[in-house]
């Protein structure tokens, strides 16, 4: 049974940050949860989906983040409690609706959980969602540890109902994906009935229609809610101070940086000299609370990741209260003490503190560090980012690159976000020449497809994943078709939102809760839109390449090629080998003229190894996924497959 269903109040469990958030939502008695998968946020909805039946929840993977927020908002309008979850850049997608939702207000408690990815560990951007809270004027909470992740989530629903607005709760990779001990609260049974009232007076927040108009009036109301939040936050137990009464230096921080700061203070043994003000309610900031702690000392260090959000907001309060608190020296992003990009770590906080307080400190013995680096360089095997063994994308890009090369007009590919982004790395085929947001490959290609009158004579291709197709590529494709862009769009359909852990999407016959669902057919959609559609198995190398070349040579309108092949890690394929593959050493000619290691030098599936002693290729049995694609590329037919 899922730990999330634990009924004993006060019992302690080791939970991942994302599990803690999910538990918090269950303790708040949510009814509806909707999300679009994106690392590091995905486990929240996955965990809720697992208990959906027992807890009587409705849980869905929506087609994109904006739809997820709309689905959750409907539940709130009907008086239910709802959660929507996304990663940082998902908030950009949802932000248009979010802006209007802030205006219209909510009814049942509604919380947006966003999981940011400082350092872009699994993103192609380092987007900051916190600014949306300020820009769109909704309250922002940031848990500083795992217990708080749960408790704050639960509280966020109450707060939402008190203020009648969406509450944003922001986590980061190290909060979402690390684990900590959590003391469980009461699992709330939800007894609410959905009822949407709309015939009351137009301005009635409970009985009237849910609108963001009249705009000035609603905007004023919204600002009133923020004022009320500011007052409430003055008393919030999630804003805490630890340290001496008169510290030499005050750290102001939030989120995972609380942990880094605490550890840095401990490592430098500065408990008696440095104070730590940890803020859980980071927008709007409670001014009186800040005034109180800013008064304690003249030197302030603000520790946060990516942009100086906290820093700027604190400085505004310091400027407004300068007469009372005096002039302060601030350290943080703006003076370069804390880096503006990337993740922070205890080491980075240690080095900031030791510089400001002039404490000599070497995190690691330099001699040891040198030795460790040398060992890592010479002894650790080199592992670049590459497609997995058995990955359909390797075959797809092999075909795309070969087709582009044969076509010989310097064609290029516009791409977006998914495992197929890996094409840009040395292990890929290097065909992707633009890389932006979900669905942008198709949109950008649509634009390139209009440039031939201006002299662009290179063939234009786009790639997009199956989940991405539904998420954001469809409007771009419609645009390209309607405007007769001359492009080829390749849909890399691996039957799942593979990169984030195989979540379902509308192209599959199953939903988030494991129920059967109507499959929305990508090929039929594209054909109905008016594209010329072809479907291939990317593992059939000659046929796929031929089809691609044929489509590229057809210079009229939008051509769509759907490449169907399940992800090698899909539940159906994982650990199931279709073929046993090995190299016949008598046939392999290795580095001789006639091959020159095509398999290990160019094709480069990680399961193909070059045996330097024997001067022959070899298949690593453990790594090989048994797809058999490499048997089709060896010029000597030396790679042999047998049905496993």
């Amino acid at each position: 049974m899922s730990k999330l269903l634990e009924v004993r109040e006060g019992s302690c469990h080791l939970l991942m940050g994302n599990e803690a958030i999910a538990r918090g939502a269950l303790e708040a008695g949510i009814n509806v949860a909707a999300a679009y998968p994106g690392t590091p946020s995905s486990e929240i909805l996955e965990n809720l989906a697992q208990v959906a039946k027992v807890r009587n929840l409705y849980v869905e993977w929506s087609t994109n983040e904006k739809v997820a927020m709309e689905v959750a908002a409907a539940a709130s309008f009907a008086g239910l409690r709802s959660l929507c979850v996304m990663k940082q850049n998902g908030v950009n997608v949802a932000s248009d609706f979010m802006l209007h939702l802030a205006g219209s207000g909510t009814r049942g408690g509604m919380v947006l959980v966003t999981c940011d990815d400082p350092g872009a560990l699994s993103s192609v951007n380092e987007g900051e969602s916190r600014h949306f809270a300020r820009m769109i004027e909704v309250p922002l909470l940031e848990p500083g540890d795992f217990q708080e992740a749960k408790d704050m989530t639960r509280w966020a629903f109450e707060l939402s109902e008190e203020l009648r607005t969406l509450i944003m709760l922001r986590s980061v990779t190290r909060m979402s994906h690390a684990s900590g001990n959590i003391s469980m609260g009461k699992l709330q049974d939800q007894l609410r009935r959905a009822e949407f009232r709309y015939d009351g007076f137009i301005l009635d927040p409970n009985e009237g229609p849910v609108l963001s108009a009249p705009v000035a009036y609603k905007h004023g109301l919204q600002q009133g809610k923020i004022e009320k939040a500011r007052e409430l936050f003055e008393q919030s137990p999630f804003n805490t101070y630890e340290g001496p009464e008169k510290p030499e230096l005050l750290i102001i921080t939030s989120s995972a940086c609380t942990l880094y700061s605490r550890e840095a203070i401990h490592l430098l043994n500065l408990g008696g000299r440095v104070g730590l003000l940890k803020l859980g309610t980071t927008w709007p900031l409670p001014p009186n609370l800040l005034k109180k702690y800013l008064t304690l000392t003249g030197t302030i260090l603000i520790v946060e990741e990516v942009l100086p959000f906290l820093e700027e907001n604190v400085k505004i309060i310091a400027a407004e209260t300068a007469k009372e608190i005096g002039i302060k020296t601030f350290y943080g992003k703006n003076d370069g003490t804390i880096p503006m990009t990337g993740e922070l770590s205890p080491d980075l906080v240690v080095s900031a503190l030791s510089r400001i307080l002039e404490i000599p400190y070497a995190a690691i013995d330099p001699a040891y560090e040198k030795k460790a680096q040398a060992a890592a360089f010479f002894k650790a095997p080199q592992r670049g980012l590459a497609f997995c063994p058995g990955c359909p994308h390797r075959a797809s890009y092999w075909n795309i690159r070969n087709a582009l090369t044969l076509d010989d007009r310097q064609g290029f590919v516009c791409g977006d976000i998914g495992c197929y982004t890996l094409d840009i790395f040395p292990g890929g085929a290097n065909t992707l020449k633009t890389l932006h947001a979900m669905g942008s490959g198709t949109g950008v290609a649509s634009g390139f497809g209009q440039l031939s009158p201006f002299g662009l004579d290179k063939p234009v291709m786009a790639v997009c994943g199956d989940s991405t197709f539904f998420h954001a590529a469809m409007p771009a494709l419609v645009n390209a078709i309607h405007h007769r862009a001359n492009i080829t769009v390749v849909i890399l359909d691996n039957s799942g939102t593979a990169m984030t852990g195989f979540q379902s999407h509308p192209g599959l016959c199953i939903n988030a809760m494991g129920q059967e669902a109507p499959k929305v057919d990508i090929a039929k959609i594209c054909a109905a839109m008016g594209a010329k559609v072809a479907v291939c198995d990317p593992f059939d190398l000659p046929e796929t390449q031929k089809t691609l070349n044929r489509l590229m040579e057809d210079e009229v309108g939008v051509k769509v090629l759907i490449l169907n092949q399940k992800c090698g890690l899909s539940p159906e394929k994982k650990a199931v080998k279709k073929y046993d593959v090995h190299v016949d050493e008598n046939l392999c000619i290795g580095e001789d003229c006639g091959c020159n290691r095509l398999c290990t030098r160019i094709f480069r599936c990680p399961a193909l190894l070059w045996d330097k002693e024997k001067e022959k290729a070899r298949v690593d049995d453990v790594l090989c996924a048994g797809c058999g694609v490499c048997t089709g590329i060896c010029p000597q037919a030396a790679i042999v497959k047998e049905v496993a």
């Binding site: 070969n402 090369t405 044969l406 003229c593 006639g594 095509l598 590329i633 010029p635």
Partner: protein, 377 residues
């Protein structure tokens, strides 16, 4: 002088990117890196082998012509304009029905079929018209299959690529119908250059029937020329009838005629640097006949230059078996041919000098070569 064998990178720089690639196919089917697409040779993936067969066999990498001549021909047979000549004939296939499937007199198809029937070869490589007037070499074993693939294709056929494939299959004795550049590539293989690795089963090559060749056309440019006047799949043949200065394109709906002036622009760049009209490195070479100004009569005859003992033997077989009909050789015929071939050589050398910017640099040819020194360019 021996020329250094280099790799794919140099081949690409010196030949493909320099507009010298003939599309002969000599570098194709040896490895996965050089491939043929439409009428072009493409580097599909990079290869870093220092001395590759692609470079060694390509007819447009530097070569020692004198060494080639010494290796293949008797000094006494050599002419500066059309290479070695052992004998010269005007002939055609005896069977009038079969001639209908041929470009001119059907001599090429008849001789190849005969070689198959007599067991001189077990596999013949001929050019096949595939979709959209794109061609490929195919290996066949039956005379009928040769006749089905008659007629001249003015877009290159990567015929040597098919030789490369067939020579590594069960075929034992192979005959090839080759344009001059293709015959040249096969001759370079026969010299057995010293390779760092890779096989060279050239001993399977038993017969080369050369085609006279003035030029080939670029497929893309031909498309432009046709400009939707006909579908590519409707083309049944082409010819350049002598004296008319036009290209005739035969289609199911009739003949399209294009003035040579327009066709010139469609000629494959590499052909501008070709010094060989008569396929000098073949066992025997076949072209269209020139019979006293009457094209309708001439077009059903061929002229044949026999260059080697193998060629002589095949012609003897053809005469004895009645496979070919023989026509008197009109006086001055050979001289006319020499003059035309001389003209092509001089133009090519002029073009090479223009390209390199120096009279001493003939790019893939050696300016000091005695055979070239005779030609004033």
């Amino acid at each position: 002088m021996a020329h250094q064998i280099m790799g794919q990178k140099e081949l690409k720089e010196q030949v493909q990117d320099a507009g010298l690639c003939t599309g002969c196919g000599a570098c194709i089917n040896l490895c996965p890196y050089q491939v043929f697409y439409h009428d072009r040779t493409i580097v599909l993936n990079p290869c870093d082998i220092k001395a590759g067969r692609c470079y060694a066999f390509c007819p447009r990498t530097p070569v020692d012509l004198q060494a080639l001549h010494a290796h293949f021909f008797q000094e006494s047979d050599l002419t500066p304009e059309i290479g070695p000549v052992k004998a010269f004939f005007i002939v055609r296939a005896a069977d009038a029905e079969q001639r209908k499937q041929a470009q001119h007199g059907g001599t090429v198809s008849a001789l190849m079929s005969l070689a198959l029937q007599e067991g001189m070869i077990d596999t013949a490589i001929v050019a096949e018209n595939q979709e959209r007037f794109l061609h490929a070499g195919v290996a066949v074993q039956q005379p009928m299959e040769i006749w089905e693939r008659g007629k001249s294709k003015f877009i290159v056929s990567p015929t040597v690529a098919e030789f490369n494939r067939a020579a590594r299959s069960d075929a034992e004795r192979i005959g090839v119908v080759a344009t001059p550049c293709q015959a040249f590539a096969l001759a370079k293989m026969r010299l057995k250059p010293e390779l760092s690795s890779g096989d060279n089963p050239i001993d399977k090559l038993k017969l080369v029937i050369g085609l006279f060749c003035g030029f080939t056309l670029s497929w893309a440019k031909l498309l432009d020329l046709l400009h939707k006047k006909t579908g590519l799949d409707a083309i049944t043949g082409m010819d350049v009838p002598p004296g008319k200065d036009v290209l005739e394109i035969y289609t199911e709906e009739g003949v399209l005629v294009f003035p040579m002036e327009d066709v010139q622009a469609c000629i494959r760049e590499a052909c501008r640097y070709c010094i060989d009209t008569t396929a000098e490195y073949a066992d025997l070479s076949v072209g269209s006949a020139r019979l006293s100004g009457n094209w309708e009569e001439s077009r059903s005859w061929n002229q044949v230059i026999v260059r080697t003992d193998v060629g002589m033997a095949l012609m003897a077989l053809a005469r004895n078996s009645g496979t070919l009909e023989f026509h008197d050789v009109p006086t001055g015929n050979l001289e006319m041919l020499k003059k035309a071939a001389w003209e092509k050589k001089r133009t090519a050398l002029k073009n090479l000098v223009e390209k390199s910017g120096s009279a001493d640099d003939l790019i893939y040819l050696d300016a000091r070569d005695r055979l070239l020194a005779d030609l004033k360019y």
